[in-house]
Symmetry: C2
Subunit: 254 residues, 2 copies
């Protein structure tokens, strides 16, 4: 048996997330990739990703792996997958992995990026890939408050209620809030990127942190509030969950 590793990029707009979800009309990324692999390898395979992404969430780099009896080369698998998969799912890399490599269990940390279009200018091209916030955001305050979240802490306040996680303690290795420009022909859009690298993410943690930082940026929460929210361990104290369309799984380290 070979253990094959994939690096997948996808625009999550038209999908019900990575994993099959009951009751959704939309297809899932996992389902579509497994179906394509079955056609290529003439064998049923189960594809494991580094983690599920929710409906509407994108991936710049989602690692996944599967075991197969097929002797098809990684290059051939890559080309065949890209030919069969829809345009909004792209296979960036295919390689052989060690027998015991598991995309999910072997992951050391994940980096999520959240994009905010902070502008009164509506954009027909950025709307699928960012959350538009009309109210001007105080970037400096978002930056200084975000530092509070670094390190090993209990992130229960940012975990969706009803989550089955055994512990709500995680280690945020890096968190940054920066201003970037997106140039589209003659028009330049002001985007804010929130990058969070952690050894693990609780359910909705990245979106709940992004939503809370936006509340800080627009002045609904003030200096020092983020620390209080974190220590409260109470989801109701934090800000609302930011919409899925602004979230990208950017990098997974092993």
């Amino acid at each position: 048996m070979s253990n094959i590793k994939l690096i997948i990029e996808y625009d999550g707009t038209n999908y019900a997330g990575w994993q099959v979800q009951n009751g959704s009309q939309k297809r899932t990324i996992q389902e579509i990739i497994e179906k394509a692999l079955q056609e290529i390898l003439q064998e049923k395979v189960k594809v494991t990703a580094s983690g599920r992404t929710d409906a509407g969430v994108h991936a710049l780099s989602q690692p996944a792996n599967f075991k197969t009896r097929s002797r098809l080369s990684p290059v051939k698998i890559k080309d065949a997958l890209n030919a069969l998969l829809p345009e909004d799912i792209a296979i960036k890399r295919v390689s052989r992995a060690d027998e015991d490599f598991n995309s999910c269990r072997s992951a050391k940390s994940k980096l999520y990026r959240y994009l905010i279009l902070n502008s009164r200018l509506k954009s027909a091209f950025l709307c699928r890939h960012s959350w538009r916030v009309l109210h001007p955001l105080n970037l400096k305050l978002m930056q200084s408050e975000a530092r509070v979240l670094r390190g090993r802490q209990d992130f229960k306040a940012f975990c969706a209620s009803g989550s089955s996680a055994k512990t709500t303690t995680r280690t945020i290795k890096k968190i940054s809030v920066k201003s970037i420009r997106y140039q589209l022909s003659a028009i330049s859009y002001p985007l804010i990127a929130i990058d969070i690298e952690s050894d693990g993410f609780l359910y909705n943690m990245a979106r709940n942190i992004a939503g809370t930082l936006v509340e800080i940026g627009r002045g609904r929460f003030k200096e020092g509030d983020l620390k209080k929210i974190l220590f409260s361990r109470d989801r109701r104290q934090a800000g609302p969950k930011a919409p899925s369309r602004g979230l990208f799984l950017a990098k997974v380290r092993y």
Copy 2:
């Protein structure tokens, strides 16, 4: 009566083009904007654009105008439109225009941009907004050949058959083929932008020129062939029509 001018940006992916087209299941941009204006102004209006764009074609800046009895300010109209219109149609500017301004008839020139993703790398994010050509393109040859099209010429070879245009002579003021990079997080994609500014475009002219330039770039046509194609005035000599998803109406001058 006021004459109101709009500047509209749209992602054409989900639309059957600007103008109502019989037999299409998809909605048109004109239809959606007129419906929104009727709701805002409490009056039926007819919106004239600088020109129709085909199904799937995008606009970075599509000027349009309409006459109304309403005294609503341009700012109010803009905000109301942006609130009512779907996310992939954005109103960039609203202003009062001279009584005799007509977006279509007053246009002096139009600039179209065609984007090609010249890469074996599939991109889940660029697929809606560019044509992916896997074969490496000879940019220098595309650039030197494109010069042949400048000036006042008969572009019949690049006009869709069945077009009702009275004359097929137009003046291409500028045409350029350049390499640009699109940076998406850690990955940089090589794009080729074909910019064509003309006093008018025949039906499918921009896409037929783009398709022909790609045939030159990939070596199916050789140096000197574009001149022969132009002079042949025969659509069958030119290359295939490039897909709509790479085409953007970028600027209209008055």
